[in-house]
């Protein structure tokens, strides 16, 4: 009796299993046949900073070319570099250019395509101070080195004679998660102060001489907003959206520049004549009038020799669109567009890609 029941249920199980397998096969074969109708799917991964812009580009581009689907994972510049090096993705993205060592370790030649420019602003919390705080480059480095510890330090008062700077301790707040923002900011400190260069250096994460760490732009902002006397750095777009006060920073021409989309693009325009062939350049302390000194390109990384013809063509077409038509979406969401003079050079670089 029991045996018989068991046999029946076994048959039921077998039927059920066969049915499931059948349905799965049917669905997957349908999916395949639709894919074959020339939908091209591109995978990218990397920097978090340009993610809002890239996702805007990708949705706009899909409207133009419905058969091209681009996915982007914002997993960080470091991971983006790693994944393009291991050919896990079709394109990578990074805020900092790859090192020679990384480039040599890659299985093919990787091109850097600058897409937009990011700027980093210095924000602070001084409730009693109205008016714009000005910071010299050496002074800013001194603050982050822990050498200047009070807001009414003589060096700060000398430049900001019109402001009533209080006798409060300076609390340094920095990003604690590795980020392109930190890379640009520490690049700036390194180029502004030999001591910083020697003590901490530049990188996506560094050994901070002083201060407390906040996670992400929101973590730094939250702590700066709450600690009277705090000073920190965030992306320009983030500071604008959250109406944070920010300091004017001295540039190599000796001007105190207010961070903005215009002054950031001006930094890139100032460096154009010195721009190397592979676009790997720092925009920090760029020469030229009106150039904001704490800025950097963000790049898309692709192989010069594309293995897959259809994918390669789609990727190049997308990038050509991004650096020309795509630029108009940039300033709307507070990214500084590439300077006009640079666009043809990047376009020509894209034409060297083979597929």
């Amino acid at each position: 009796m029991i045996k018989k029941q068991k046999a029946v249920s076994a048959i039921q199980w077998a039927r059920c299993l066969a049915l499931t397998v059948g349905v799965v096969l049917l669905i997957s074969s349908l999916g395949c046949s639709r894919d074959r109708q020339a939908t091209i799917s591109l995978q990218g991964a990397g920097a978090t900073f340009p993610y809002p812009l890239y996702s805007k580009w990708m949705s706009e581009y899909q409207r133009l070319k419905p058969n091209v689907r681009i996915d982007y994972q914002s997993i960080g510049s470091g991971a983006g570099i790693r994944q393009i090096r291991e050919r896990v993705v079709d394109f990578g993205a990074s805020d900092a250019p790859m090192t020679d060592q990384d480039l040599n370790a890659a299985p093919g030649k990787i091109l850097h395509i600058p897409t937009v420019i990011g700027a980093v602003v210095v924000t602070y919390n001084l409730p009693s101070v109205n008016g714009e705080l000005k910071l010299e480059r050496a002074t800013l480095a001194g603050i982050f080195l822990g050498e200047i510890t009070k807001w009414n330090d003589a060096k700060l008062r000398a430049i900001n004679s019109t402001l009533a700077l209080p006798d409060t301790a300076i609390v340094v707040v920095h990003r604690t998660d590795g980020s392109g923002t930190t890379n640009i900011f520490t690049d700036f400190l390194s180029r502004s102060s030999p001591l910083w260069q020697q003590r901490a250096g530049k990188g996506t994460s560094v050994n901070w001489p002083v201060g407390i760490g906040g996670k992400g732009n929101e973590g730094v902002t939250g702590q700066v907003k709450q600690l009277p006397g705090a000073i920190g750095y965030v992306e320009l777009a983030y500071a604008e959206q959250n109406k944070l006060p920010y300091a004017l920073i001295e540039n190599p021409a000796g001007e105190f520049i207010k961070p903005s989309i215009g002054s950031t693009t001006a930094a890139a325009a100032g460096i154009i004549s010195a721009m190397p062939e592979d676009f790997r350049v720092s925009l920090v302390n760029a020469p030229g009038r009106g150039a904001y000194p704490i800025a950097g390109f963000t790049y898309i990384l692709i192989y010069q020799n594309q293995a897959h013809t259809a994918k390669g063509r789609a990727l190049v077409e997308f990038l050509q669109w991004a650096i020309r038509e795509g630029q108009e979406y940039a300033s709307a969401i507070l990214y500084a567009p590439l300077p006009i003079e640079l666009v043809p050079r990047v376009y020509n670089k894209l034409r060297t890609i083979t597929y």
């Binding site: 991971a79 590795g178 250096g201 994460s205 050994n207 407390i212 760490g213 702590q223 709450q226």
Partner: protein
């Protein structure tokens, strides 16, 4: 006192593990569960093997000094894990010191004293607390807890207990104390929910017997607590596990500064936090390898702490049995 004989377990019961499976269904059942059991083991072994393989570079470079060095400099590639180990262990212990009395109180109230709808409602709320995502706790930590600590709690603590080194320094509100507190808040629902269930499982007869002998309510509760001891310890271990591995909320309030300081008012850093903060941007191989070694260390620290706790449970359990016999 002789307990009724359990026919499914203990000496004399049919041995489920030996080859006495005459029934084919039982054999399949045994095979399937064996596979599931083996899967957990395989997973753990694979994880350790993979982390060990990926951290060899860092291990070769720094050797055992990795455990004791306090410098963490990604630019110059000098790595030491001691501040992270210290931060993880101290913040977790701090959270247990704060959370255990609170959780036990909650659980005792719910299991022994509260009646009917009140008990059900509060128990439901406690379980709800356990389901709040950690990022929410973290944001609350930044915007509510940290300012409160900075403005009121820490100056008061410094004024009252300033003679102790652990309450010295500038109160920022973003420090070890904030990390420990947020962890305490997060582990409290877990410990109290499990403890409550354990207390509910204590047979009524235990309490009734105590009461019948003229014990007060508190004494009867003590009897129940001692009966449930090993289960309560288990609940604490569960909470400790959560505290050791918690990442997001702690990262947001602990200050993320790799330093070893005796003061609770100084920022600190935990192992889970540094991995989540720096792994995505770790471009160089040595840097990545050092972070993976931290992951391996976190694994080892968790195993050591959990084993010590298990050992405690086991000893308490044995003492209880001896007392019974």
């Amino acid at each position: 006192m002789k307990e009724p004989k359990d026919l499914t377990y203990g000496p004399g019961a049919p041995d489920m593990r030996a080859g006495v499976f005459s029934n084919i269904g039982d054999r399949i059942f045994r095979g399937v569960t064996l596979v599931f059991g083996a899967m957990i083991m395989t997973l753990v072994i694979l994880m350790v093997a993979e982390m060990t393989r990926n951290s060899t570079l860092s291990f070769r470079q720094f050797g055992l000094g990795f455990l004791s060095h306090s410098e963490w400099d990604p630019v110059h590639e000098r790595f030491g894990a001691w501040p992270f180990i210290y931060g993880t262990v101290v913040s977790s212990l701090l959270s247990l010191i704060l959370a255990v009395p609170l959780s036990l109180g909650t659980a005792i109230f719910l299991a022994e004293l509260a009646r009917g709808k009140l008990s059900v409602a509060v128990a439901f709320l406690v379980e709800l607390l356990a389901a709040i995502p950690s990022v929410t706790y973290g944001l609350w930590g930044i915007f509510v807890l940290a300012p409160f600590l900075r403005q009121y709690a820490e100056p008061a603590l410094a004024a009252a207990f300033g003679f102790l080194p652990m309450f010295r320094g500038t109160p920022h509100g973003i420090d070890m104390l904030a990390g420990g507190l947020i962890l305490a808040i997060m582990v409290t629902p877990i410990i109290s929910a499990v403890t409550r269930d354990v207390l509910m499982a204590v047979p009524r007869t235990q309490r009734e017997a105590a009461l019948a002998l003229g014990a007060t309510r508190w004494e009867a509760t003590k009897v129940a607590l001692s009966y449930a001891k090993s289960g309560i310890l288990g609940a604490v271990i569960l909470g400790l596990g959560r505290a050791l591995g918690e990442t997001m909320a702690v990262t947001m309030v602990i200050g993320n500064r790799p330093q070893v300081s005796g003061s609770l008012f100084d920022p600190s850093y935990t192992m889970a936090s540094v991995i989540s903060n720096e792994f995505t941007e770790a471009t160089s191989d040595l840097y990545r390898s050092a972070l993976i070694e931290i992951g391996l260390l976190l694994f080892l620290v968790t195993i050591v702490v959990q084993s010590v706790a298990r050992l405690l449970v086991w000893r308490v359990g044995r003492r209880l049995k001896e007392a019974k016999a």
